[in-house]
């Protein structure tokens, strides 16, 4: 289903469909649950479906680049925190070889089904090669 602007905000209009990264439905994320010690960080973390819906809303609203970013973000929801920080560092200037970037793209695609991010990193690798931004 393609979301449109009329579905926004999801918090008000689709809260019965929303769930946390842990899988817990939004309606079960309550003060009582916190007080009972039932919730962890994963219960207050977003997940890919919500980000994809937001991407569709952004596209419908005339913000295609933001939509593309949110689609990449949706792919990254399963990537652990430390790994995200490591990938960011590898993309900084002169950190990686062309082959290492290609391998990173392959890994994201294979491990997390992150095709958009993989294409993004392959594009970076080509530019880094042409513009002397690879590790020397």
């Amino acid at each position: 289903m393609q979301e449109t602007k009329s579905a926004y905000p999801l918090r008000d209009k689709a809260s019965d469909r929303l769930y946390a990264y842990s899988g817990r439905p939004l309606k079960d994320i309550s003060a009582e649950a916190i007080a009972a010690g039932e919730l962890s960080a994963e219960d207050l973390r977003t997940q890919a479906d919500a980000l994809r819906q937001q991407a569709e809303i952004a596209r419908d609203g005339g913000y295609p680049q933001l939509a593309a970013n949110l689609m990449r973000a949706a792919e990254l929801t399963d990537v652990p925190n430390e790994e995200l920080l490591r990938i960011y560092d590898v993309l900084r200037p002169e950190r990686a070889s062309y082959e290492e970037l290609q391998r990173l793209a392959d890994y994201l695609e294979d491990r997390y089904d992150a095709g958009e991010n993989a294409a993004f990193i392959r594009e970076a690798a080509d530019v880094y090669r042409d513009r002397n931004l690879l590790r020397r």
Partner: protein
């Protein structure tokens, strides 16, 4: 010219605040030019048959740098580039200023403009036209504001109290930073707890190094980040240890955790870093903005930001800063419009500059209003500080312009500050962090600055911060701590921030949460300005809240202070007739000593009468007192006195204290002496007025009474003047002739 001579005026001017600034002539080769460098490229763009950009702004694809590659690949709407580049720049400029040109049509075409084309459009616009453009192109309908909250002690209770006050004042985002980087988690925690005490839904961030910032966000301690800096040349980008791809990836990483981001750019950074490549600041900013857009950032903070003094040193600098805000809005980006870093020593100059964003409105008029004293500002000093709160509120009230904040009362401030300080105290206690004492809570409640706070032992604080950062505890633990500490409502607000993270609605362009904790973004609150009568303008409860400054008084209250029991010593005895040659007539206004009993300067009417009578008696003349009913006008009152006076000399005296010495042969509106500055008149002045009137009656040479000139009196007292005059006019009886009065008084 005589070198030794010094103009006293130029000497004075040289010491004015405006002359503490640096001014420099343009030098394009060093990038010291705000717009239209002779080395800026001409706009151009060529597509191949396959629809690939093969040339842009005079550079062939083979020579594209990393930014060009990123822009053509990710920022430009290739479906419209040919149409967009073919339309003359002047047409864009006219559309921006024309209320009949739809916002959506401009946005559609701008999506296909190259950096040089964007810069070329600006060439045709003056600041007024750009303000019209910004008011139309801003993406969110209702403007908002962001606050900076820091203090040099990095005191958690003071941070929480100041954040709570900022939230209550209406700031939609609060940003903090660190003096000591290791304090980052605790500073972020303090403003999280503080803001959510003041108002649920205020977004918070802690400006630190990128990786640390992402960690804070992952812990739920911050909800947005705007430290993602971009630059307009490849070399500057590399000096910043990033590429467009690394920054865009970071943006996606933040979004993957439900955290709002905006990028940072701004004129002058490339020149400051020595890598401007002879290009103008505005052209480089246009490149930045296309990178920002291509990365999929929902917005940008620009407006020169920390480099502001550099464009301001150059001609046209403030215009260029508005231009970069406008370009960002045209590209569909949320704009946090600068006005944050100290831009001028001169209050006139800093305020004039602010108007360029304040009047048209921006998604965030400030990308950090310093809601703390300048000395506590760890961002390098704010352009507007806590000391300017009242000034800013009055500007909103003056112009009926929503600057994103509202006035609060002292009691409201004290209450919310105490609650926030107690809430962070409870969190520290429940999480077993170094204790915040009741004494510290008390100090933070009433504090203006770090100077008002007791020192904390920093070593255990830093050790606890390190342990917190390294450990597993995050905002879930904070919510529990607040619940257990008796701050269930604050806990609920942070919990709702967590739910909002899951929904991710606030990742949409220009998103904030309103007073009801409802998201408001360019998706559900898009700017619909299309000329007079359209778009956002403050009305109803919002406008009422903006007007309600604690300093505003009820107009009736101004009158009450000047009323009292009517003068028992002043008795009306019958219609007035003309008297003998040895008298001066003292004609009083209709309310004098009755409805009103003191002058605007606070002198009792009894004392004023005694003073004038003393002056007249001192010259051996008799005073006869009359009351005029048919007019409240000072000249008319005095003229009646002169015509009924046996000597032909009369004094007119209004209840508010304004006096005139009149002579019967003069035109009604002429006079011998007029004393319009009633607030400055003293009892000895009134005695001198009586004396001079008597001397005129005696035909003696007379030196006019010297009155102190107070040019501020009208400014301070014009409301009282108007209201006292109105009260006197209420007593006018047009048909009642002047009456003679007896005042029970003997010369001393």
């Amino acid at each position: 010219m005589n070198q030794k001579q010094r103009s006293k005026r130029f000497d004075l001017l040289s010491k004015r605040d405006i002359n503490r600034e640096t001014y420099v002539e343009p030098w394009p080769e060093a990038g010291l030019i705000v717009a239209d460098s002779p080395y800026d490229p001409q706009p151009s763009l060529t597509l191949s048959a396959a629809g690939e950009v093969v040339e842009m702004d005079g550079v062939a694809r083979a020579d594209f740098d990393a930014l060009d590659r990123f822009i053509v690949s990710r920022a430009l709407d290739l479906a419209v580039v040919e149409e967009a580049m073919a339309l003359p720049s002047e047409n864009y400029a006219r559309m921006l200023a024309d209320i009949n040109a739809p916002r959506a049509e401009i946005a559609r075409l701008v999506a296909g403009c190259s950096p040089a084309k964007l810069t070329d459009i600006i060439r045709h616009l003056n600041v007024l036209e750009m303000m019209m453009g910004l008011s139309k192109m801003r993406i969110r309908r209702q403007p908002a504001n962001q606050a900076h909250v820091t203090n040099w002690r990095e005191h958690p209770a003071l941070l929480a109290a100041d954040a709570a006050e900022a939230a209550l004042r209406g700031f939609a985002e609060v940003e903090t930073t660190v003096r000591v980087a290791r304090f980052a988690p605790f500073n972020a925690l303090a403003i999280l707890v503080g803001t959510q005490t003041g108002r649920g839904g205020v977004l918070t961030q802690c400006s630190v190094e990128e990786a640390l910032g992402l960690r804070l966000a992952m812990k739920g301690l911050t909800s947005y980040a705007e430290t993602l800096s971009v630059y307009g040349t490849e070399m500057t980008f590399a000096d910043g240890d990033d590429t467009p791809w690394s920054k865009a990836f970071l943006a996606s990483a933040y979004a993957s955790r439900g955290v709002k981001i905006r990028f940072t750019s701004g004129t002058g950074s490339e020149a400051l870093m020595g890598r401007a490549e002879q290009k103008s600041m505005l052209y480089l900013e246009a490149r930045c903005l296309l990178v920002v857009k291509g990365a999929g950032s929902q917005g940008v903070q620009n407006g020169s930001i920390s480099c502001i003094a550099l464009p301001e040193a150059l001609p046209g600098g403030v215009r260029a800063v508005l231009a970069e805000n406008l370009l960002a809005a045209m590209l569909g980006l949320e704009v946090a419009a600068g006005n944050d870093a100290l831009a001028s020593h001169s209050d006139i100059r800093k305020t004039a500059k602010l108007m360029l964003q304040f009047i048209p409105g921006a998604d965030f008029i400030f990308s950090g209003y310093s809601a703390i004293p300048k000395r506590d500002n760890l961002f390098g000093g704010g352009n507007f500080d806590a000391e300017d709160f009242d000034d800013y509120n009055v500007l909103q009230r003056d112009m009926q312009i929503d600057g994103g904040v509202q006035p609060i009362s002292e009691d409201e401030a004290l209450n919310i500050r105490r609650k926030a300080a107690r809430a962070i105290q409870a969190v520290y206690r429940q999480l077993d962090l170094p204790a915040i004492t009741d004494e510290e809570v008390d100090a933070a409640t009433v504090a203006h600055s770090s100077d008002d706070m007791p020192a904390r032992d920093i070593v255990p604080d830093l050790e606890a911060a390190d342990a917190f950062m390294a450990g597993e505890r995050d905002f879930v633990a904070v919510i529990r701590a607040l619940q257990e500490g008796g701050f269930g409502d604050v806990a609920d607000n942070i919990l709702e921030m967590g739910r909002q993270r899951i929904a991710a609605d606030y990742l949409q362009p220009a998103a904030i949460f309103d007073a009801d904790f409802k998201v408001r973004s360019a998706i559900n609150d898009p700017n619909d300005y299309a000329g007079p009568g359209s778009g956002y303008r403050p009305a109803g409860p919002r406008w009422a809240a903006m007007q309600n400054i604690p300093q505003a008084k009820s107009p009736e209250g101004f009158i009450e202070r000047h009323t009292g029991p009517p003068l028992s010593r002043l008795v009306e005895i019958g219609p007035a007739s003309k008297g003998g040659r040895n008298e001066v007539a003292l004609a009083l206004g209709p309310a004098f000593g009755k409805a009103l009993t003191s002058t605007i300067g606070g002198l009792s009417h009894e004392d004023v009468l005694e003073a004038i009578l003393t002056g007249i008696a001192g010259e051996g003349m008799i005073a006869r007192i009359l009351r005029v009913y048919h007019s409240s006008d000072c000249a008319a009152i005095g003229y009646v006195g002169a015509r009924l006076s046996g000597s032909g000399i009369g004094i007119g005296l209004q209840s508010r204290g304004t006096a005139v010495i009149h002579q019967k042969d003069l035109a009604p509106l002429n006079n011998l002496e007029l004393f319009p500055q009633s607030p400055s008149l003293t009892l000895s002045t009134y005695e001198a007025i009586g004396r001079n009137a008597a001397r005129y009656a005696l035909g003696l040479a007379t030196v006019p009474v010297a009155v102190k000139i107070d040019n501020g009196a009208r400014l301070r007292l014009i409301v009282q003047t108007a209201l006292l005059h109105r009260r006197e006019t209420d007593e006018v009886d047009p048909d009642k002739p002047p009456q003679e009065l007896r005042f029970d008084w003997e010369p001393a």
